[in-house]
């Protein structure tokens, strides 16, 4: 049973008070593998931000100042079951006291809440969400709602805007993000190196509108913030698919779903193949263990099928071969072919194909069932293909199909285009 310390602190000043209370905390360890280095440790803890409103007579017409008493929690599990966690976090700091809200503005505090992170893993993240604990009224996610003195939600008054929490971005090892608490599992901080009791100042923003419910003195508002810490060290990523699975060379493709397993927040993805420069996926959005999103810049990209490789920060990689198809804007189109009749089996003849979208490196063949007559291409323009064929002496007579395949793999096939006599 984790410790749940309760801290109560009363402050002087205009009759307001501030409370720090720990509402709950817990640790969640997900067992991914029997091997030690295959564990993913997820530590979650919650704190609540509590506000007690000031006196009504402190409201002014243009600038209503409300002294706010708030609390953030210091949470640290005393014991970790089975094995030591790769990451531990706590929320500490002096807390926010006597925070004066100015309706009609966004109220900011960037000094009072400190995230303390210790991670033995090189890659870690901290996300936040409103878990709607303690029977918080639905429809109030991320927003401060009125509670009684015991911290129970009364369901009476709710602020109009959600709390905004931002991690610092000035440190090179952090990728701070600003998130609105109304989202789910939103990343506010991450690192690419192990840290030991790294203290990270969070910035709390609370927009307050004139139209917000009247904050009467003595009323209490709170929102419970759940912090989720994540450390890497798990299995190698697995790539299953990518949407879209093709793109036009020279264009920028928005990848809406690079799906797989064991992706990490700092995982990278590339299109790769032998002899070509990798094409990086510029990750956008939040990477989840099963999904990455981003953009692929296909400027100058060679056409054809590419492998898709995801690399986790710990070096683990996963590749699915020939998953992404870089194509020309259009497939080849066959408009005419000739001569349409052979001069007889065993003969060699010049042939020509006209159409559109032919590319250098185009391949042409005549087929009839399993029989193939390759066309030796001698000259190609975008609208014509010149070549020669030799009709094998044993070639079956009758109609043969014509297939033109560009070097990107796009092709067109015309049935019965050629007659072997």
């Amino acid at each position: 049973m984790p410790k749940v310390p309760l801290i109560t602190n009363s402050l002087d000043g205009e009759g307001f008070r501030c409370e720090y209370r720990i509402r709950c905390c817990y640790d969640n360890i997900t067992h991914q593998s029997s091997k030690r280095d295959k564990y993913i440790f997820i530590t979650s803890m919650s704190s609540f931000l509590q506000v007690v409103t000031g006196m009504r007579n402190h409201f002014h017409k243009s600038q209503v100042k409300i002294v706010v008493i708030c609390a953030l929690l210091v949470v640290l599990l005393s014991t970790i079951p089975v094995i030591a966690a790769d990451i531990d976090i706590s929320v500490e700091g002096p807390g926010i006291s006597n925070w004066i809200f100015t309706p009609g503005t966004t109220n900011i505090n960037s000094t009072s809440i400190i995230l303390n992170v210790s991670s033995i893993s090189s890659t870690w993240t901290v996300s936040v969400k409103d878990a709607m604990d303690f029977a918080k009224t639905s429809g109030t996610v991320g927003r401060m709602a009125e509670s009684d003195a015991g911290g129970a939600y009364t369901g009476t008054n709710v602020l109009g805007a959600a709390v905004n929490i931002t991690g610092p971005s000035s440190l090179s090892k952090y990728t701070g993000a600003s998130v609105v608490l109304s989202g789910s599992n939103q990343l506010i901080e991450s690192g690419l190196a192990a840290v030991n009791s790294e203290k990270i100042h969070l910035t709390i923003r609370q927009p307050v509108a004139i139209s917000d419910p009247v904050l009467k003195g003595g009323h209490r508002y709170q929102v419970i913030v759940t912090y989720i810490a994540f450390a890497e060290g798990g299995p190698a990523p697995v790539v299953n698919g990518i949407v879209p699975a093709e793109g036009i060379t020279g264009s920028t493709v928005t990848v809406t779903d690079l799906s797989g397993l064991n992706f990490l927040p700092h995982s990278t993805a590339v299109l790769n193949r032998t002899g070509s420069t990798n094409i990086n996926l510029t990750v956008t959005g939040v990477t989840t263990p099963t999904r990455m999103t981003g953009t692929l810049n296909l400027a100058g990209a060679g056409v054809g099928k590419w492998d898709v490789t995801v690399t986790n920060p710990d070096g683990g990689t996963g590749t699915k071969p020939l998953l992404f198809w870089v194509k020309y804007p259009s497939a080849p189109g066959i408009g005419s072919f000739g001569p349409p009749f052979s001069g007889g089996r065993g003969s060699t003849m010049d042939v020509g194909v006209t159409g559109q979208g032919f590319r250098s490196g185009v391949a042409v063949k005549l087929t009839k069932g399993a029989s193939v007559i390759p066309v030796t291409v001698t000259h190609v323009t975008s609208t014509t293909i010149d070549g020669t064929i030799t009709i094998p002496s044993g070639a079956p007579t009758g109609l043969w199909d014509l297939t033109v395949t560009n070097n990107d793999g796009q092709f067109e096939k015309i049935n019965g285009a050629f007659t072997v006599q």
Binding site: G333, S336, G338, P339, P340, V351, Q356
Partner: protein, 326 residues
């Protein structure tokens, strides 16, 4: 020679000028002449007779000229064979002919097939006269050289006058044939007239037969005929033509005002013409091709016959076909 007709029917028939002029102008519907071949042949005869007694004479001419081997069907189309797929994979293959530079380039080394044309012309004449007085004057000319408008490759002009005695009788028959058949032929460099345009690179196929002629079985009368066909010219500007004219009337001073007996003249025509239909293309950059499509058939037959005392029997028949009518 006694000129007498025993109770001839007192029928006076006057048929004045029946003319058939068939001309198809423009590049779509027409046959056209062939150029002469090396080794020209010219035959010219003049026959003159003034006879009391029995006369028989006959003439038979057959002239055949082709751009390729004669009598070796089927006729070969001009241009290179090519296949089009106007609807891509979901549509049919359409085979047609083309002289597009790209198509020619893929048949490199091979001259563009010009297309095959073949003509047969014939002329036959028979005269048999007994028991009477006959004068016969005929000029016959045959030439395999190029002819211009107004000239003929086979030409026959004759005047026959017969005054029969008792039982005297003359029969004569003369007919003219022009039979032309052409496959699709390449039009380039065949037209001299700079103002004669061609709708496409090919002249369409044709198959036209024209026959005309006359016959007579008279005891008295004078017959003049003019027959001519033309189908050999240096360029296709000159239309092919068949002309036949017959004029029958009485013998001056024979006591009558007309010919006595039976005369007839005929013309039979069967024409089949085509157009060149452009093959639909999937892309504008595809070569242009054509398919010949038969679009017209004409069958024409006209026969005129007169029996009795024939004051005048005249029939003038002309057939002309070419891209530039004259």
């Amino acid at each position: 020679m006694v000129t007498k007709m025993n109770n001839p029917p007192r029928v006076i028939m006057v048929i004045i000028v029946a003319v058939l002029v068939i001309s198809f102008a423009g590049p779509v519907y027409a046959d056209f002449p062939l150029p002469e071949v090396p080794g020209l042949v010219g035959i010219s005869t003049v026959t003159s007779m003034d006879v009391q007694g029995i006369v028989t004479t006959s003439t038979s001419v057959g002239l055949q000229l082709g751009s390729h081997t004669l009598n070796d069907p089927p006729l070969e189309n001009g241009g290179f064979l090519w296949a089009w797929f106007p609807l891509g994979p979901s549509g049919p293959r359409i085979d047609g002919y083309s002289v597009d530079p790209y198509v020619i380039s893929r048949y490199k080394g091979a001259p563009v097939p010009p297309g095959e044309v073949q003509y047969t012309a014939g002329y036959n004449e028979d005269v048999t006269a007994v028991s009477g007085s006959l004068t016969y004057q005929k000029t016959m000319s045959i030439s395999t050289g190029n002819k211009s408008a107004g000239e003929e490759n086979i030409g026959a002009d004759r005047v026959v006058t017969f005054t029969g005695g008792d039982g005297g009788r003359m029969t004569t028959r003369e007919d003219l044939l022009l039979d032309g058949a052409g496959a699709q032929t390449v039009a380039a460099n065949q037209v001299c007239c700079p103002f004669t345009g061609t709708a496409g690179p090919f002249f369409p196929p044709f198959c036209n037969i024209v026959m005309s002629g006359s016959s007579a079985d008279i005891s008295t009368g004078s017959i003049s005929t003019t027959a001519g066909v033309r189908f050999i010219s240096a360029s296709v500007d000159i239309p092919v033509a068949e002309t036949y004219r017959v004029n029958v009337k009485g013998v001056t001073g024979s006591g009558g005002t007309g010919a006595s007996g039976t005369v007839g003249a005929f013309m039979k025509v069967n024409l089949q013409e085509a157009i060149e239909q452009e093959v639909p293309r999937r892309y504008v950059t595809d070569p242009i091709g054509y398919i010949p499509v038969k679009v017209e058939g004409l069958s024409y037959s006209e026969t005129s016959t007169a029996s009795g005392l024939i004051h005048t029997f005249t029939k003038d028949m002309r057939y002309q076909s070419g891209i530039r009518p004259v």
